[in-house]
Symmetry: C2
């Protein structure tokens, strides 16, 4: 299906995206049906890097996810090889062997230690991986490795994404410049079986294993775990961070000023990638922030925000530009969080539509405000001091069209 | 929006639907914008009836729901007055007063005891109820009461329903013929703010309060609580049963053969109405049964079935006739129920698509089977002896179209 390139985002021109000590490449190996489409990516650190990861909570996990979950425990890696077009999920023992073969091919070509490469796949479920195609493309993939190759790698990870997603951030940490860069592909609102979110983060920071893990977990919780596209969790969702230490900064340890700065960079990159994923949702015409405040607990604020973001009826109303606050109230009510109806206040892009739980009489103004492509739904429960944000998109006819069309 | 009348269902010709000792009527009072459209219904028992109810679990409850929840505790009622076109939800204290006034008007006109009438509303949220319109129509409403008036009443409860929903069942209980009849309006996949499910059941059985409550709760759990339309729970969902005892059967008590017969009738009527609601889902083109068996517990079977039924991706695939079993596996995996991937078997209308957790290679046959308007998705977890069924419809472009169009 033809799609226009929207909001290219990312770090801009080729060459601007660099993380010292990391190379990347993206080539075509022929798994994707479209001739010449990039479908094989490699990210490699020049030296051993610390690694941490967050993986899908889906009980049905793709073969590469199971391998990475094991390898990440060692805490050391050289990088990751990624194919798109095939998820290598529900492929049984053969799928597991295939993923190991792919990682081994890269390790051999890079002269890297055994079991040092992570492996990742995204695409159709239940189809055997064509390992021979990946093997044939290996010389080209390794040959193309470049310090400026991240745009190509990001493109090779795409399935139905309409643009490559990259984000970069730098700051002085302990007297040295530290960089974090990330590449991602979209999740959900996505073509058959491809509802996978992949993100790979690279940093030249020297950071302790504990600090790296905590910083990643915290950033993922506030970014990738706060976007709602179609409520489905993929078999392949994976976030990995590699820290190769070539910045020569002093080792970053938990609960230090350097850790705080590093975590700000990490949060920024993860949030930027997460927002790009929402913006690139199939068929989406609106980028929507659901902002719940005044909740009795942080968990309640998040649950309320998520329930609103997951409501078909709220999402179709936003698509139609209809300030239909009754649907938001109904979602709040069924979320199960503590609330007093008569205290609820709701605004849409700054226009109050509900005050003291009742119609505020601003429907015409709210309808005009909803014509914007970016919408903030603010809900104040007026019960406590906790708040939470979730990002989502609208539910459109194109979403249904794209997701109901037969896989080809 | 024009919609064709589909599957009229129900009990057939006017006059066939009769429950001894119950009259009903449906008239136009002008709340609905379409001139002459029925929007006010009355169901009245000739004598005091036992009453039991099940109500929405949404924390935001419409005024009439709060009133009925209180009145149902007395265990005695004369019937229910229902308006469509306005939900009387999020209308504050005035809404509460308005609902009491409506019930009082009917009680006076019928010379029924104070607080003996239930009251119910469905329609737009947040708009004050036009009580004066209901008051003006009261003579016509009461004057039209008729033992054969249930089709009119069912029609007057409709919002975006495309057909009136009625179901009737009779059997010999303790030497007497006992009848249960029910009228309902649809839930979900429904125009702005009208995602309400209402069902009113009438029986001439003489039945103890405890038996009536248990039989209703059990039937609702297996019918109205097993249909998934768009995952939203309305502010107004209400199921009431009235038992007036005019059949002269011996009082039905819990755990007797008569109770079992009565419960079979009750289950039948509730399930028939629930299925009609799914069939009448806005935009729906498929009636889908999700049947999970081999689960380790009944709760697990239900949770797995519900997660599949709630998946946007599964529902769009069914709309497209795509035997995309990867989406079903992914939904199973994220449902959180105990499973062993390698034991899973999935069939679509009898065609096995997954065997031992892997592709069964029947895609072409499965695609042909999915052309049918009724689809059974059968999942066998092969872990235990528990099973559960849930009914849903597909997610279509028309659903989005209907629910995104501005309220007018």
């Amino acid at each position: 299906m033809p799609r226009k390139k929207r909001r290219p985002g990312g770090s801009g021109r080729r060459g601007e995206f660099k993380v010292p000590g990391f190379k990347a490449s993206g080539v075509s190996c022929g798994i994707k049906k479209k001739r010449g489409a990039r479908d094989l990516a490699l990210i490699a650190s020049d030296v051993d890097a610390r690694v941490a990861g967050v993986f899908t909570r889906n009980a049905v996990k793709a073969a590469p996810v199971l391998i990475d979950m094991k390898r990440v425990r060692k805490g050391v890696s050289r990088g990751v090889v990624v194919n798109s077009g095939n998820a290598n999920a529900c492929t049984g023992e053969q799928g597991h062997k295939d993923a190991l073969v792919v990682a081994g091919l890269v390790e051999k070509a890079l002269d890297a230690p055994r079991s040092s490469m992570m492996v990742s796949s995204t695409g159709v479920i239940g189809v055997p991986l064509e390992v021979e195609k990946i093997a044939s493309a290996m010389p080209a993939l390794v040959g193309a490795l470049d310090y400026e190759g991240f745009e190509d790698a990001a493109e090779a990870m795409m399935t139905t994404d309409s643009f490559a997603k990259t984000a970069l951030s730098r700051a002085r940490v302990g007297g040295k410049t530290v960089t974090i860069g990330g590449v991602a592909k979209g999740a959900g609102m996505i073509c058959p079986d491809m509802a996978t979110m992949l993100a790979f983060l690279m940093t030249d920071a020297d950071i302790s294993q504990a600090a790296l893990e905590r910083s990643l977990a915290s950033a993922v919780e506030l970014s990738f775990n706060r976007i709602v596209v179609d409520n489905d969790t993929s078999t392949n969702d994976t976030v990995l961070v590699f820290a190769n230490g070539v910045s020569d900064c002093a080792e970053i340890k938990i609960n230090t000023p350097a850790y705080k700065t590093f975590s700000i960079l990490m949060n920024y990159v993860c949030l930027k990638l997460a927002h790009m994923i929402v913006r690139d949702g199939e068929g989406a015409t609106r980028f929507v922030e659901i902002n719940v405040r005044g909740a009795a607990s942080e968990a309640a604020a998040l649950k309320a925000a998520r329930t609103i973001a997951e409501s078909y009826l709220v999402k179709t109303a936003l698509y139609g530009g209809d300030p239909n606050w009754g649907r938001i109230m109904a979602a709040l009510g069924r979320s199960g969080v503590k609330m007093k109806q008569e205290r609820v206040r709701i605004s849409l892009n700054g226009v109050t539509v509900v005050k003291d739980g009742l119609d505020a009489g601003n429907e015409a103004r709210a309808a005009r405000a909803l014509k914007a492509p970016e919408i903030v739904v603010r809900v104040d429960l007026s019960l406590g001091r906790f708040s939470s944000k979730v990002w989502t998109s609208d539910l459109t006819k194109d979403y249904v069209k794209i997701n109901s069309s037969y896989r080809t």
